[in-house]
């Protein structure tokens, strides 16, 4: 009660001083304002069939065309998937898949041929796809050191604890962590077989596959003119064949800013995923990027997936504004649009039958 007791004291005090002015008797009357009296002008929607009918029709009418558009766009995207895991005996890569070790010095190569029955116009994106690979496992996801990748020298010498057990291999590991350690290391080469049988290698561009911000801001090599010198006191990840400064000969694509590496480091959301591997650029308007015909895919088979029953794929795809081929969104839009439209019809019926009883008579009379 102290509070109220004291409050009274205060009250007496206050009124004492204010009474002196004599202009107004102090009153505790609340202000008669719209806010305090909860009388602010308000919009009070009432959800009845009559009032929301148009909304349903509008949604239906907007969604169905969008859905159709999406569906058509998706269908126009050309995509081909070549699986080269080599689980079946018939598969050319069967042998490679059987005898595996992370650090075998002699690469195992296998060649797959496929036929493209439709020419791929415009730029073609070449992906590798893995399935059943849980790049999103909690401990896997956090097993990296972003400041090391950002070129921080301290982190280079002493990687984050999160990288355990891929943190030190006598010397600090660069790049540390499980993600880097398990980097995809198959090499894929594509050849076009001329109708006359000659094997033409298709130029694959390996730059521009990572996000621009990743390449230029997030990933940076440690300061130093010579990469080899910079990484001298570090060890390569256990599973890697080459150290990080030998990922590429091009100094713009070597070390931490190697784009294949950057792409791998952006961990996939779902266990079945694809990652951009190369881009096949459109030559000119006259010839398609990949004409109809026979192709061979040469795989330098390094990456083991048997332990988790994974699958490896090579995907060639053109892309549109909506990304890769996926009919789902278009179908979903069409379905939802139709449902809304149907509900609109039902509501119209209901409104006609019951709505009048409730409101229209009230309002019209």
């Amino acid at each position: 009660m102290a509070a109220s007791y004291n409050a009274k004291e205060e009250d007496g005090h206050l009124s004492g001083s204010s009474g002196l002015g004599g202009t107004a008797i102090r009153t505790r009357k609340p202000d008669n304002t719209a806010f305090k009296q909860q009388r602010l002008p308000a919009w009070q929607p009432i959800l009845t069939a009559g009032t929301v009918l148009p909304a349903f029709f509008v949604i239906g009418l907007i969604f169905i065309p969008i859905g159709i558009g999406l569906f058509v766009t998706s269908n126009n995207i050309k995509e081909i998937e070549i699986e080269y895991t080599g689980t079946e005996r018939s598969s050319p890569c069967f042998n490679c898949s059987q005898n595996f070790s992370w650090n075998s010095t002699t690469p195992c190569k296998c060649v797959l041929s496929f036929f493209l029955d439709q020419p791929f116009e415009s730029n073609v994106f070449m992906y590798y796809g893995l399935s059943n690979f849980y790049q999103n496992h909690r401990r896997y996801v956090k097993s990296r050191d972003d400041s090391q990748l950002n070129g921080d020298l301290n982190s280079l010498k002493d990687p984050s604890k999160e990288c355990e057990p891929y943190r030190f291999n006598e010397k600090p590991i660069a790049p540390c962590g499980a993600i880097a350690n398990s980097m995809f290391n198959d090499t894929l080469d594509l050849f076009y077989i001329d109708p006359n049988g000659t094997k033409n290698p298709i130029p694959l561009i390996k730059k521009g596959i990572a996000w621009w911000t990743d390449k230029h801001v997030k990933f940076r090599n440690p300061a130093g003119s010579n990469l080899t010198a910079v990484f001298r006191d570090t060890a390569k990840p256990v599973n890697w064949l080459k150290p990080v400064y030998e990922l590429d000969t091009d100094s713009e694509n070597n070390g931490f800013i190697n784009e294949d590496f950057i792409v791998w480091m952006r961990t996939a959301a779902l266990p079945t995923f694809r990652k951009l591997y190369r881009i096949i650029q459109k030559k000119n308007n006259m010839t398609p990027t990949l004409p109809r015909g026979n192709y061979t895919l040469e795989v330098t088979y390094n990456y083991p997936v048997r332990s988790f029953e994974g699958r490896k794929r090579m995907i060639l795809s053109t892309i549109s504004w909506m990304g890769g081929k996926n009919p789902f969104l278009g179908i979903a839009y069409i379905t939802v649009g139709s449902i809304c439209f149907f509900l609109g019809v039902v509501l119209l019926f209901i409104h006609h039958k019951y709505g009048n009883r409730n409101n229209s008579s009230d309002i019209s009379n």
Partner: protein
């Protein structure tokens, strides 16, 4: 709130232990020891006068506040989670980040607590540093010190209008009679002055106070919190003992009035004073919704447990599928893999961390905020503001606002709650002759009529003279000249009360009560007796009326001075002040000598028949010149002075309004009490002679005896006479057969008694409060013998009450009946309407009163609690078997009538406009019967009967019974109860009920202090419950449900993802964004929703009380509502997860790019879900809703632009920008939001069209033009009231069931 830290508690415990050895406190003067060191001081063990109500000091704030906060379950849960984050095996992403939510919540609460504590500290400081005068031996005079310097044993002098710094035993006053007046408004809100007197033997008249001669020891009881009991004695050096009681104690916090100075020895200080011991902190109750919510939180815990279990099992099984470990499974630092079972076990805890938001801990903070907002709006309601008392509705309990919307049973006190508690003298019976006071009744009719209509105009027409010259004066001085004239309608309804209430707190002195028009016949009778002799039954009757009370006389100046002291301590017009001083001294001392002066004034009062009744001077003022000039504007102070001194303006300060009414009635017949001291009562007779009675003893009123007596010595006859007044039963059974040898006289006495009893019954039937008056002449010898025993009892410490009671009952017998009075207690305005509305809202209204059944029933009829067509059962018996039989009979009858449909139909057929039979049953039960009915074997039947009754009226119940009735109903029927009352006798009941409401009225503030909400008029209950209660309930219920939904919907997104990441507890949403999501992006809208949503407007709620039933039946928040919300949350989270999932499945999307659209979609869904629920959109709603979305985008964009390598592993750099550049992102967002909300939206639409709830219909009504609306509302009511045809009812089954259903 008195809070003491553990150390002081320990110290106090020890001190108390020491005190227990001596159950009494011995206090000696500090003066002889003034220069000694502290350890030599005799009173050193008593606490100082410093008060400290703040809990914390600067250094102890953080640990202590944290310690207190961890008493809450929710916080413990949160801390447990935070600690779990630091356990390595659970693999938390960033343990530090997990601390943020708990820190924010703790910090918010700490800031709030700290601020409150600081305010307490400030006010403590202010009090501790107030000045006071302490006697110093060294300087031989009073020195100015501060309150905190006061110690037990000091001598303190308090001047007029000063606040008393500690509990002081009064030893000296400037008053010749040794009295001191004290205003206890600060303590209990009672505005009448209390008289205190010097400890007998210490009032040295006229001499200055000499504390240095005080050598006695004061022995008194240890500190306790009883404001009305204090006992002890003063032991002089020669071992003589003088007893004293509460009437010699000046209480800390009270103000000295009417007395130039008072002095005494300090007995209790600081926290040991009675006022501080009475300080109890604000009450914390737990509301019904909160109780329900807590069980639902447990459901959430259960849900969380299951989800974590699924995660743990899933993870184990997933790990089992691998024969060799793939490269993406990370071994521990030694390169070993955890066995799958153990990994699953760890995963359980990791899952808890991931899904922790499932338990809506922020809900508790949000609810507190929402309730603060709701209370703000309740107290701001201008309709609940009382202009007369200048007070708003007070919310004393901070966390049960929504309980107001769920009340099912209302228990109301009668006096002061339903009625004004402004007693008006109506009629009396003397010696068996009834005087009906028709003229007075006529006057009251005029006043009350005007009350309802245009009283102000009436007053203006009659040109009322200034009733309260002082208030007018005050008005003109404060510049608000228009106070009485401009605020015409509401402010002037009881014009005089405005003046009296707002300005001077003058107790019980409106003209309505103070002015009594004498009955002609009675007046003649009195005149006749006056003319012949100076004694006689009529004279005795009026003398009893005038002196048998505890009313204190104060003069207008005293009143004025109080006004001055209150409003302006440094008044600019100094002359005014001086004049007041002069008059105060002058009036009290000289008033009796200036007889001539009174003669003139008295004429007008004594002979009122010379003038017309509506003549203004009838109303009060006796200054003839004033009354003829009409509405006089006081222009100068000299004139004021004349008008002041010209009026014989005695003001009576009565403890109870009954006494005020009686003394004014006596005054009307010319018997004016002009002075009361502890030793004398002076009464002026109609012929202007003054009778100065010596008061020998006063036997004060108590509820056991139910009467009070005063023993006086008649100045002329020297007889010792005891005048007694009391309840009729308390007097009638003690009427003596004094003249038993003279059978004839006995017969006459008997006849008088019988006649009086008849009249009393008649009064009671008319709803009047009755009091009997009796006298007894005591012989000198008898008195002396009795007085000795009495004195002994008075100075006793043990069993003092019992002994006093014994002595009182010993002397109070063999009365001679003088007569009886009937006092009317008028109903408050709009009481019948309010009761009707409450009842239409489905509430059962019970009235519990201490009055006699007849009076209570009458009031019950007049306030529409009972209807004349009602079937009223009256239970009043002294035998339990009878009670049992009646209960069984009645129940059987009721069961038969309600079970057999034939009877019902027949009943309806007979009276189709009538509601169901069970609705017209009233029960009247009196106290003794009630206690029998509530005994263990009958209680079930009684409760069953009560369930059938529309109205229950309990008469003659004690405060304890009131509370046990409330408890009984609350426990047996499991209903929400509300108790409303105004007096100390309602405190138990108010505390027993779920919601206690105090009416701040005439009977002090005890009820208000004990209450959860305090209002000023009964009619405010209607708005408080039907509007605010309903709003608060539906707002809070909706908000709580929404909160559960929100958390579950969001958390489930993460859960579904677990199926695609090997149950490894990965989150695809950045950790910071997850925290912000709850803390920042989606916290404001639901809080605003909880404070401001308005489903139905107040006017509609008031005109359709039936809408209240939603809260009563807990329709806003049921278990089913909760589960529907949870199901909806599951559905929405499925949609929010799987539409993006299928869209991005198989693509090259990264984890956190995948999470971004989900997070965004969730935000949209959650915000728009609320948008569907919001019933009324004001500007604020738009701002907050759109603001929340904007804040989300701004914060996310900024965050993902800045954070290059921070916050691993999510590393949100540029993710949001990248997503927002992708059209797919928008397409996914739009589609998902639509799909997620479609079912709820459609359901709302269908329900709104096919089966509109009453609330929806009410909202539709609001759209109609006013005239049309009225008609519809009437139709609606008609439909609801006559729920006759079953077919109609079945049609309406979806809407609120009829009261009969």
């Amino acid at each position: 709130m008195t809070w003491t830290n553990p150390l002081t508690l320990l110290w106090q415990g020890w001190a108390r232990h020491r005190d227990r050895d001596r159950p009494i406190r011995r206090v000696v003067s500090n003066l002889p020891f003034e220069d000694l060191k502290k350890r030599d001081q005799p009173n050193r063990q008593y606490e100082g006068n410093t008060i400290k109500t703040n809990k914390y000091t600067l250094w102890s704030f953080i640990p202590m506040n944290l310690f207190e906060q961890f008493h809450r379950m929710a916080n413990v849960y949160f801390v447990g989670l935070a600690i779990l984050n630091f356990v390595p095996v659970v693999n938390a992403f960033q343990p530090e980040v997990a601390l943020i939510p708990i820190c924010v919540i703790l910090a918010l609460t700490a800031v709030k607590d700290g601020w409150e504590d600081f305010r307490r500290y400030q006010s403590d400081q202010q009090l501790n540093n107030m000045p006071c005068f302490i006697f110093s031996r060294k300087q031989m005079r009073l020195v100015k010190r501060r309150w905190k310097d006061v110690r037990v044993g000091d001598f303190v002098r308090v001047l007029s209008n000063q606040i008393i710094p500690a509990d002081i035993l009064l030893l000296h006053t400037s008053d010749p009679n040794g009295v001191c007046h004290m205003e206890t408004a600060n303590l209990d809100g009672e505005t009448n002055l209390k008289q205190r007197r010097v400890v007998p033997g210490f009032s040295t008249l006229g001499k200055p106070f000499q504390p240095q001669t005080f050598s006695s020891t004061v022995v008194c009881e240890n500190p306790n919190n009883n404001l009305n009991v204090f006992k002890g004695y003063v032991e002089r050096p020669d071992k003589r003992r003088t007893g004293f009681g509460i009437d010699s104690l000046l209480l800390r916090g009270c103000t000295v009035r009417n007395t130039d100075d008072a002095a005494g020895i300090v007995v209790y200080t600081g926290h040991e004073t009675k006022s501080m011991l009475n300080n109890s902190g604000p009450r914390y109750k737990r509301s019904k919704i909160e109780r329900k919510m807590n069980t639902d939180v447990l459901f959430c815990v259960l849900l969380l447990f299951f989800m974590c279990l699924i995660g743990a099992l899933g993870h184990s099984i997933w790990l089992e599928t691998f024969t060799t470990m793939p490269s993406y499974i990370v071994p521990d630092r030694n390169g070993n893999y955890t066995p799958s079972v153990l990994a699953g076990f760890y995963m359980f805890f990791t899952m808890i961390i991931l899904l922790q938001v499932m338990i809506p801990v922020s809900l508790y903070v949000s609810i507190e905020l929402v309730k603060m907002g709701q209370i703000f709006f309740i107290t701001q309601d201008v309709e609940l503001y009382d202009e007369e008392l200048d007070s708003r509705v007070q919310c004393r309990a901070l966390n049960i606002t929504e309980d107001l919307g769920q009340i099912q049973y209302v228990f109301s006190d009668k006096t002061g709650t339903l009625t004004e508690n402004k007693m008006v003298f109506r009629r009396c019976t003397i010696l068996g002759t009834e005087y009906c006071h028709d003229e007075n009744a006529a006057r009251l009719a005029v006043v009350s009529g005007a009350n309802e209509e245009e009283e102000d105009t009436l007053y203006q027409q009659t040109k009322l003279p200034p009733l309260f010259p002082l208030e007018e004066l005050q008005d003109s001085h404060t510049g608000d000249k228009n106070h009485a004239n401009t605020q015409v309608t509401a402010a002037n309804r009881r014009r005089s009360r405005v003046a009296a209430g707002a300005q001077s707190d003058m107790a019980f002195s409106t003209p309505l009560e103070t002015v009594v028009v004498p009955d002609r016949k009675l007046m003649l009778e009195v005149d006749r007796q006056m003319a012949s002799i100076l004694s006689g039954p009529y004279l005795d009757f009026f003398l009893a009326l005038a002196i048998c009370n505890t009313v204190v006389v104060s003069t207008v100046t005293a009143q004025r001075e109080r006004v001055k002291g209150r409003s302006n301590s440094a008044y600019s017009g100094g002359s005014f002040h001086i004049m007041g001083q002069w008059f105060r001294k002058g009036s009290l001392r000289n008033i009796f000598s200036s007889m001539k002066f009174f003669k003139r004034g008295e004429d007008t009062l004594a002979d009122p028949f010379a003038k017309d009744e509506d003549e203004p001077d009838m109303f009060h003022s006796s200054d003839v010149s004033d009354s003829t000039t009409g509405q006089k504007v006081i222009s100068s102070e000299s004139e004021v002075k004349r008008s002041l001194s010209g009026t014989e303006e005695v003001c009576y300060e009565a403890h109870s309004p009954d006494e005020a009414a009686l003394i004014h009635a006596a005054k009307a017949y010319g018997f004016t009490m002009v002075e009361r001291t502890p030793y004398y009562v002076t009464v002026k007779l109609p012929d202007d002679t003054l009778l100065k009675f010596e008061v020998l003893d006063v036997l004060t009123f108590d509820s056991t005896r139910r009467r009070m007596s005063i023993i006086v010595r008649h100045p002329h006859t020297n007889e010792i006479i005891m005048y007694t007044k009391g309840a009729d039963s308390a007097i009638m059974e003690r009427l003596g057969n004094v003249f038993s040898d003279m059978s004839q006289v006995d017969n006459v006495a008997k006849q008088i008694a019988v006649k009086t009893q008849k009249d009393l019954d008649m009064y009671a039937r008319d709803g009047l409060r009755t009091l009997c008056f009796a006298k007894k002449v005591i012989s000198e010898k008898e008195f002396k013998a009795w007085f000795a025993i009495r004195q002994e009892a008075l100075s006793a410490i043990d069993e003092k009450e019992e002994r006093l009671l014994d002595t009182a009952t010993y002397i109070e017998n063999n009365f001679t009946l003088l007569g009886a009075t009937g006092i009317e207690d008028r109903l408050q305005e709009s009481v019948p309407e309010t009761i009707q509305a409450l009842r239409r809202a489905g509430m059962q209204v019970w009235v519990l009163t201490g009055d006699k059944p007849e009076t209570a029933i009458n009031i019950a009829y007049s306030c529409k609690l009972l209807d004349h067509e009602d079937l009223v059962f009256t239970f009043s018996t002294n035998r339990k078997s009878v009670c049992k039989m009646r209960l069984e009979d009645t129940l059987g009858e009721l069961r038969r009538s309600s079970l057999s449909p034939g009877a019902e139909v027949q009943f309806r057929g007979n009276n189709s406009a009538f509601t169901l039979m069970e609705h017209s049953i009233g029960l009247v039960i009196d106290g003794p019967t009630l206690s029998m009915a509530m005994s263990d074997d009958l209680v079930e039947q009684f409760v069953e009967l009560c369930k059938h009754c529309r109205a229950v009226l309990c008469c003659r119940v004690t405060p304890l019974q009131k509370s046990s009735v409330v408890k009984l109903i609350r426990q047996k029927l499991r209903v929400m109860t509300l108790a409303i009352g105004d007096g100390a006798n309602d405190v138990n009941m108010i505390q027993a009920a779920d919601v206690g409401i105090g009416v701040s009225g005439q009977e002090g503030m005890q009820a208000v202090m004990a209450s959860d909400f305090a209002i000023t008029r009964f009619k405010h209950l209607q708005r408080l419950l039907l509007v605010h209660g309903h709003w608060c309930y539906s707002r809070l219920a909706n908000m709580v449900i929404y909160f559960f939904y929100k958390n579950v919907a969001y958390v489930n997104l993460l859960f579904w993802y677990q199926f695609y990441c090997g149950f490894s507890a990965t989150a695809m949403i950045d950790y910071w964004l997850m925290i912000f999501f709850n803390l920042l992006f989606t916290s404001a809208p639901p809080i605003m929703f909880g404070i401001m949503d308005k489903e139905v407007s107040d006017s509609t709620l008031l005109s359709l009380p039936e809408l209240y039933k939603k809260g009563q039946h807990s329709e806003g928040y049921r278990r089913s509502t909760f589960w529907i919300a949870i199901l909806d949350a599951f559905y929405q989270s499925l949609v929010c997860f799987f539409i993006p999932y299928w869209t991005y499945n198989g693509s090259d999307i990264g984890i956190f790019s995948f999470g971004t659209p989900m997070n965004t979609v969730s935000l949209f869904t959650i915000i728009l879900h609320l948008a569907i629920e919001i019933k009324s959109w004001t500007v604020l709603h738009w701002v907050i809703m759109i603001g929340s979305v904007l804040v989300y985008f701004i914060v996310t964009l900024a965050y993902s632009a800045i954070c290059t390598s921070c916050n691993p592993p999510s590393n949100p750099y540029w993710i949001m920008h990248k997503q927002m550049a992708d059209p797919m992102f928008y397409l996914v967002c739009i589609l998902t939001t639509v799909v997620a909300l479609l079912p709820r939206y459609t359901l709302h639409v269908l329900r709104g069209t096919l089966a509109p709830s009453p609330h929806l219909s009410a909202r539709q009504l609001e759209r109609l033009p006013p005239s049309h609306r009225e008609q519809r509302i009437r139709e609606w009511r008609g439909l609801r009231d006559t729920c006759i045809s079953p077919s109609l009812r079945s049609q309406e089954h979806s809407s609120s069931p009829c009261p009969s259903a």
